[in-house]
Amino acid sequence: MNQTASDIPEPIERNISEDPLNDPNYKTVGEVTSPNAAMTTKNVNVHYGNKQAIFNVSLDVGKNEVLAMIGPSGCGKSTFIRCLNRMNDTIDACRIEGDIRLEGEDIYSRNMDVVLLRARVGMVFQKPNPFPKSVYDNVAYGVNLHGLSSTKSGLDDIVEDALKRAGLWDEVSDRLDQPGTGLSGGQQQRLCIARAIAISPEIILMDEPCSALDPIATAKIEELIDELSKRYSICIVTHSMQQAARVSQRTAYFHLGKLIEVGATDIIFTNPSHRLTEGYITGRFG
C-alpha cells in the first residue's frame, strides 16, 4: 500500500486480509454483532446448486436500526436479504447453511412457521409488485389473511393508517377501489410498503426499493424509512451510496459473496478500513 500523499488513513485493524476473495477464513472487518439485535445471523453459507453465492457471513440487525447493504452487482445482497424471511425456500436449487435467529429463535428450525416468520419479517421488492386487485384489497389482503381485524371498520382503520404511514393516503384516498396496478411506479412501491407495514412486522426487508423511482418518489420513500425506523428494524439493499448515507445508521459492504466490512454509516463512508470498501465507495469499481 502506498501511503505517501494519501489522505486515506492507515487501517486501524492490522489483521485485514489483503485478499479476502481467496481467503476461506476471511473475517469481516468491523463489529458484526449488535448489542440490541432483532435478528442475528452466524456463518451463513448459501449455494445455488454447485455455485456458492454467500460465504460465511455473520451480521446482526439491531432493533430500530436501518441497516444498509451495499456492494457491486451480483455480490449476493439479494440472496442474503432473502434468507432473512426464507424467501429463498421457493428456489429449488437454493441451499442455506448457518444460524439465523429472530429474537433468539432459529428461523430455519422445524418449529419455525414460515407463514408467521414472513408476517414478522416483511419484505418490499425491487420491482413494485402490487396484486392485480384494488388499492384497498392490496393493503387489506395480509390483514385478512392473518385475521388481524375482526370488524370491517377495524380493517378500514388499519388500511388507512398503513396508507398514511406510507405517504400514499392523500393520493389514493378517493380511489381505493381502483386497481393497484393502475398507480404510477412510485405510488405502486409505496403501496407495497403499505401492504408490508399493514401487518405490523418487526423487521422490514427492502431490496432496492427505489431503483425504479424518480428522485421525488425516492425522497418520499427515504422520509418514510426514517419514519418507519422509529417502530421497525429495516434492512435496505441499495445501489445508491447517497441513499445509504442518508437513511442508514449502519452499513454492510458485500463483495463477491463475502461480507467485507460493517460499521457505522458515517465511518464507512468517510473512513473505510478495507481497501475493497474504499474502492467501491470512491467509485473505483462496482
Binding site: 421457493t90 414472513r118 416483511g122 409488485n129 389482503y141
Partner: protein, 422 residues
C-alpha cells in the same frame, strides 16, 4: 459507400419480401375461409330441408267396431289403428284393388302415423263414430319426392317410389291434401329406423350428459394436476417422467382411450354398456392431457413477482396459488378446456368402442341411461341407405356445430369474467 446508401439499396428487396409474405398469408386465409364456407354451405343446403316434413290429409272414419269393449281409455288405446288408417286410405283411393297396389298405398303413410292417431283418439273419444280429416305423417320416400329429390325420369326399377305412388302423390297435391310443415319430430324424437320419425334429441341429450361428465371430471382433475406439477412438485426424475408421459398421452389416438375404457370400466368394473357416464369418463381421460398441458402453460405465464408478493405478506403456498396465481391463470386454463371439450364433443371412435353406437330409441334422462352422442348419430345416419337420412345427417351436423358454438360461447363468457390486467 455510406451506410444510408447501403440500406437504401436493400430496402426495395425487403419491401418486396414483405409484400410477398402478406400475399401468402392472405392466400392461406382465403383458402381457409373458402373451405369453411363450402363446408357450411353444403351442410346447410343439404340439411335445411330436414326442418320441413310432409303430411298427408286423410279422411278417417272411426267406428265403435274398431274397439273391443267399453270405449274407455283402456279399450281406446288398444284399438286397431293400423287397420283404421288402411281402411281410410282404401276409401280415398278405391282404384287400388290388388294386394300389391294396396300395400303400396299403405306405404304412403308413415308407420308412425298410427301412434299420432291413437293419441288424438284417446285424448278426444268423441272422434269415434265420426269421419274427420287428419294430417298424417307421410312416409320418408314421399317426403323426399315432395322435396324434389326424386327424379321421375329415372327408370322405375331404379327407385323405391314407384310410378303409381307418384301418381297418387300428384293427385293429393292437386287436391291440396299434401303439405309440408315444420318438422317438430326431428327435435322431439329419439332415433328411429324410419327417417320421418327419427329425431336428434336422443343424441343431443346423450352428448349433453357425456360432455357434462367429461367437464366435471377433466377440468378439476386437470387443473389440480397442473397446479401440483407446476407449483408444488419438486423437479426430479419422477416429475420429468410424468411430464413426458402427459405430453405423449396428448398424442395418443382416441380409439386407444376407447379400448382402455372398454377394458377398465366395462370389463373390469362391469359398468353398463352404452351409457354417457362411461363415455364421459373415457373422453375425460382423453381430454386430461390437453387441459393439463395448457393449464401448466397458463400457470407458468403468471409473473413470479405476484407469487413473491403473496408469500412476502405471509400467505401459505396454497393460499398464494388459490388467491393470486389461479385467478390469473384461469383464462388460459379455460382456453385449454375449450380446446379439449371441443375435441371431446366431436369424438366418435372411443364411443363406438364402449357401445354408445347402439340403436337407442329412448331419450336418455340421466348419464346412467343408455344413449348415443351427436357425432355417433351423424355416423349412424350417414351410414343408412334411406335417402331421407342424407338431409338429417346434415341437419345433425348443424346441431353439433351449434352445440359447439354454445359451449365455446359459455367458456368465452367465463373467461371474460376472469380476465384481469396487471
Amino acid at each position: 459507400m455510406n451506410p444510408a446508401a447501403l440500406i437504401q439499396r436493400g430496402l426495395a428487396r425487403r419491401y418486396r419480401a414483405e409484400k410477398r409474405f402478406k400475399a401468402y398469408g392472405l392466400t392461406a386465409i382465403v383458402c381457409g375461409v373458402g373451405f369453411l364456407v363450402f363446408l357450411l354451405g353444403t351442410t346447410f343446403l343439404n340439411g335445411y330441408t330436414a326442418l320441413l316434413q310432409t303430411y298427408i290429409a286423410v279422411d278417417i272414419s272411426i267406428f265403435d267396431s274398431d274397439f273391443d269393449g267399453d270405449l274407455g281409455p283402456e279399450s281406446l288405446s288398444k284399438g286397431d289403428y293400423p287397420g283404421i288408417i288402411k281402411r281410410s286410405l282404401r276409401e280415398a283411393f278405391p282404384e287400388a284393388t290388388k294386394r300389391r297396389e294396396k300395400n303400396e298405398l299403405y306405404r304412403l303413410v308413415s308407420s308412425g302415423a298410427q301412434y299420432e292417431l291413437l293419441e288424438k283418439v284417446v285424448e278426444n273419444p268423441d272422434l269415434v263414430g265420426k269421419t274427420t280429416t287428419f294430417w298424417l305423417l307421410a312416409d320418408d320416400e314421399v317426403d323426399v319426392y315432395m322435396k324434389g329429390r326424386i327424379d321421375p325420369a329415372v327408370p322405375e326399377k331404379n327407385r323405391r317410389l314407384k310410378d303409381r305412388s307418384i301418381a297418387w302423390i300428384e293427385q293429393l297435391r292437386n287436391q291440396d291434401r299434401i303439405k309440408r310443415s315444420f318438422n317438430i319430430l326431428f327435435f322431439t324424437n329419439g332415433d328411429s329406423r324410419e327417417p320421418e320419425q327419427a329425431g336428434i334429441i336422443g343424441a343431443v341429450m346423450g352428448s349433453v350428459f357425456t360432455i357434462l361428465v367429461t367437464m366435471l371430471l377433466a377440468f378439476p382433475i386437470g387443473v389440480a394436476a397442473a397446479i401440483y406439477l407446476q407449483e408444488f412438485a419438486r423437479k426430479n426424475r419422477f416429475t420429468d417422467l410424468i411430464e413426458v408421459n402427459i405430453n405423449n398421452l396428448a398424442a395418443v389416438p382416441s380409439i386407444i382411450f376407447g379400448l382402455l375404457g372398454l377394458a377398465i370400466f366395462l370389463n373390469f368394473f362391469h359398468m353398463p354398456r352404452s351409457i354417457p357416464l362411461v363415455g364421459g369418463m373415457v373422453l375425460a381421460l382423453m381430454t386430461l392431457p390437453t387441459i393439463i398441458i395448457s393449464s401448466r402453460a397458463a400457470l407458468g405465464a403468471v409473473p413470479p413477482s405476484i407469487r413473491e408478493a403473496a408469500l412476502g405478506v405471509g400467505a401459505s403456498p396454497v393460499q398464494t396459488v388459490l388467491h393470486h396465481v389461479l385467478p390469473l391463470a384461469m383464462p388460459g386454463m379455460l382456453t385449454g378446456t375449450i380446446i379439449g371439450l371441443a375435441q371431446a364433443l366431436g369424438e366418435t371412435a372411443p364411443l363406438l368402442v364402449i357401445g354408445m353406437v347402439a340403436f337407442i330409441v329412448d331419450i336418455p334422462g340421466s348419464p346412467m341411461d343408455p344413449g348415443t352422442a351427436l357425432p355417433v348419430q351423424i355416423y349412424l345416419w350417414a351410414d343408412s341407405p334411406e335417402r331421407a337420412f342424407v338431409e338429417r345427417t346434415s341437419a345433425a351436423i348443424m346441431v353439433l356445430l351449434l352445440f359447439l358454438v354454445a359451449i365455446n360461447g359459455l367458456i368465452v363468457l367465463l373467461r371474460k369474467k376472469f380476465e384481469r390486467h396487471w
